[in-house]
């Protein structure tokens, strides 16, 4: 393989496999960031973008057969295939993502648990405090278990906030369909939901667009993965920030030192964070920050509930 020739022999050859284009200023861009960090650390890296789930096995094997020592699949949809290929290639190290703790995890596979529900909990508190109509919308992509978990966590947050607000979850059917996101957001807004908690990838820029033209300080939107306040500071409320360099580097070190398996649970201080916009009213802001603190201190236990949302 061509890009392999760059790396000096001692260093790892790390490959990343991404589900979308690295230009998405979102999940996959973060993936590339993490790889870059690894590269700084002397590893030689290579990546494949826009890999569809049906093609993942082929891609994994390709990297294995072209001599990569660590292969990371970015996105929990890739877990099963990664585990399977890992079993076939005991002398190569793999990193996969999973929501929760998998069964019979191979000896040469590290797992990153993105722990979305924990990080979404404070948003429930924030939303409940921000909403004046008492209606909060959740804008998801595909109705998947991790998405259900987010919804349940938000409900718990709203619950704990003491405010009475109810949550309206909808799914656009595609994390990246910006247009559908726009349409659904407009629908939610016109349905009286004044706070939108989004859990999309590319799609979210559409959600912002739908916010345009509505009164500042009246409608709010929260986003996932990367700070998107630039889109529309007036309506931007918060981001659940993710930084995959943290888990990746940590795991690479572990592998270096011989531990080839384990679970890295992301969370506050461990690659995940909640950053709250400046325009957000202070008491709402404080409530949310308090919630974060409680989770960190273990005062609140955010329950993982992946049961379907009816």
């Amino acid at each position: 393989g061509g890009s392999a020739d760059g790396g000096d022999d001692g260093a790892d050859k790390v490959a990343g496999i991404f589900s979308g284009p690295v230009t998405d200023a979102d999940l996959n861009a973060l993936g590339l960031d993490a790889l870059k960090a690894a590269e700084k650390d002397g590893a030689s890296v290579s990546y494949a973008e826009s890999v569809a789930v049906p093609d993942i096995e082929g891609k994994l094997r390709q990297y294995v057969s072209s001599g990569y020592t660590v292969v990371w699949t970015h996105g929990s949809q890739f877990y099963d295939a990664t585990a399977k290929v890992a079993k076939e290639n005991p002398d190569v190290n793999f990193i996969a993502e999973f929501d929760g703790v998998p069964e019979d995890q191979p000896e040469n596979l590290w797992v990153i648990d993105r722990n979305f529900h924990t990080v979404f909990y404070p948003l429930g508190v924030l939303a409940a405090n921000l909403s004046s109509t008492g209606k909060v919308g959740y804008l998801g992509g595909l109705s998947l278990p991790f998405s259900y978990a987010e919804v349940h966590a938000l409900e718990q947050g709203i619950e704990d906030s003491g405010k009475d607000a109810d949550l309206k979850p909808v799914w656009t059917g595609d994390f990246n369909d910006t247009v559908k996101a726009t349409q659904f957001t407009s629908q939610l807004l016109s349905g009286g939901n004044d706070v939108i908690v989004s859990s999309l990838n590319l799609g979210v820029v559409g959600a912002f667009e739908a916010m345009k033209g509505t009164e500042a300080g009246e409608n709010w939107i929260t986003v996932k993965y990367t700070d998107k306040s630039a889109n529309d500071p007036e309506h931007y409320a918060a981001t659940v920030l993710y930084d995959f360099a943290k888990p990746l580097m940590a795991i690479l070190d572990e592998i270096e030192s011989g531990t080839t398996t384990g679970v890295y649970v992301m969370g506050f201080g461990k690659g995940a964070d909640v950053s709250i916009g400046d325009n957000v009213p202070t008491e709402a802001k404080e409530a949310a920050e308090q919630a974060v603190a409680d989770v960190e201190s273990g005062a609140t236990e955010v329950e993982l509930d992946q049961s379907e949302v009816k």
Partner: protein, 307 residues
């Protein structure tokens, strides 16, 4: 109601614009299947240019030009080289889709702060926009909307009410007859495909310029194929297409509304509605749903088989 219309109109614009572009060449016998790709290309070009030039109109115009270029390639390969319209179309669909992504990647690249553009401003038609229910959604819109309305009427007028249109349509119905009467088949097919394909690209550019303020990968999400279905639904007639597009857009919005309101049924079934409904409509559509007799067939003056 007002709010429903407001939600429907933008999608109507996209569907109508792209479908008019499709039937324009279709009536001349060119079956254009590049929509999904050309719309993506239009979206990419549109947003990139609008971002760099700081002019949305500029974005739309360049998008049109690029789409027109694809159309030119399509007609050259089908009218001059007589290559299969379907295959060439699909190949161009590939190329355009690829080019869309490449362009954005080359110009914008990897960034955490996406290049947002200000979406199209709305124009207010004084008095009319104050009409109760329909005024707001129909007379407070961006200029693309008004353009599409005019375009649709103009295309109807041209095709059904002018002798130029009579000649034009004959090219799609019986090119040999048209040719034998001195009508330039190649010319008709070329200009209609060039213009039509340009319009399709503009429809694509409308996504970033109206909905999202930015190009994103795969933002057309299959709507290009729906446009082809729409052309058949509308029987390749401008005004029927207007209605068909409204139907598509309407069902689309209703589907979402149903989900937001939250009926008991799984949202997947609600999302099926537009397509299922269209199929049902088609069952009664055979009266009007006829297509140009030579749609998709190349014309070769000295051959018996084509004529």
């Amino acid at each position: 109601m007002t709010e429903f219309l407001t939600l429907v109109v933008p999608m109507w614009v996209v569907f109508t614009l792209a479908a008019q572009g499709t039937i324009l060449s279709g009536r001349a016998g060119v079956f254009n299947v590049t929509q999904e790709g050309v719309m993506a290309l239009g979206a990419s070009v549109g947003s990139v240019v609008a971002y760099k030039m700081g002019s949305n109109l500029g974005g739309l115009l360049v998008a049109f030009a690029v789409g027109a270029l694809v159309g030119l390639v399509l007609t050259y390969m089908t009218t001059q080289l007589r290559m299969d319209q379907f295959v060439v179309g699909l190949a161009l669909f590939f190329a355009a889709t690829g080019a869309a992504g490449l362009l954005y990647r080359e110009v914008i690249g990897v960034t955490m702060t996406p290049p947002k553009i200000d979406t199209l401003a709305k124009i207010d038609i004084p008095v009319l926009s104050d009409i109760p229910v329909i005024g707001e959604p129909l007379f407070r819109q961006d200029y693309v909307f008004f353009f599409v309305v005019l375009l649709s009427v103009a295309m109807y007028w041209f095709m059904q009410r002018t002798s130029a249109g009579l000649d034009f349509r004959s090219v799609g119905e019986n090119p040999k007859a048209a040719d034998s009467l001195g009508i330039n088949v190649t010319l008709a097919r070329t200009w209609s495909t060039v213009v039509g394909s340009g319009l399709v690209a503009v429809a694509g550019a409308y996504f970033p310029l109206h909905f999202t303020g930015i190009f994103t990968d795969g933002m057309i999400a299959g709507r290009g194929w729906l446009v082809i279905a729409l052309a058949f639904l509308g029987g390749w007639r401008p005004l029927y297409v207007v209605a068909g597009a409204a139907f598509f857009a309407g069902m689309d919005v209703l589907g979402q509304k149903a989900q937001v309101i939250g009926l008991g049924i799984p949202h997947q079934f609600i999302e099926m509605l537009p397509f299922v409904a269209t199929l049902l409509v088609m069952v009664f559509a055979f009266r009007w749903a006829r297509q140009p007799a030579h749609l998709g067939l190349n014309y070769d003056r000295e051959s018996r088989l084509a004529g």
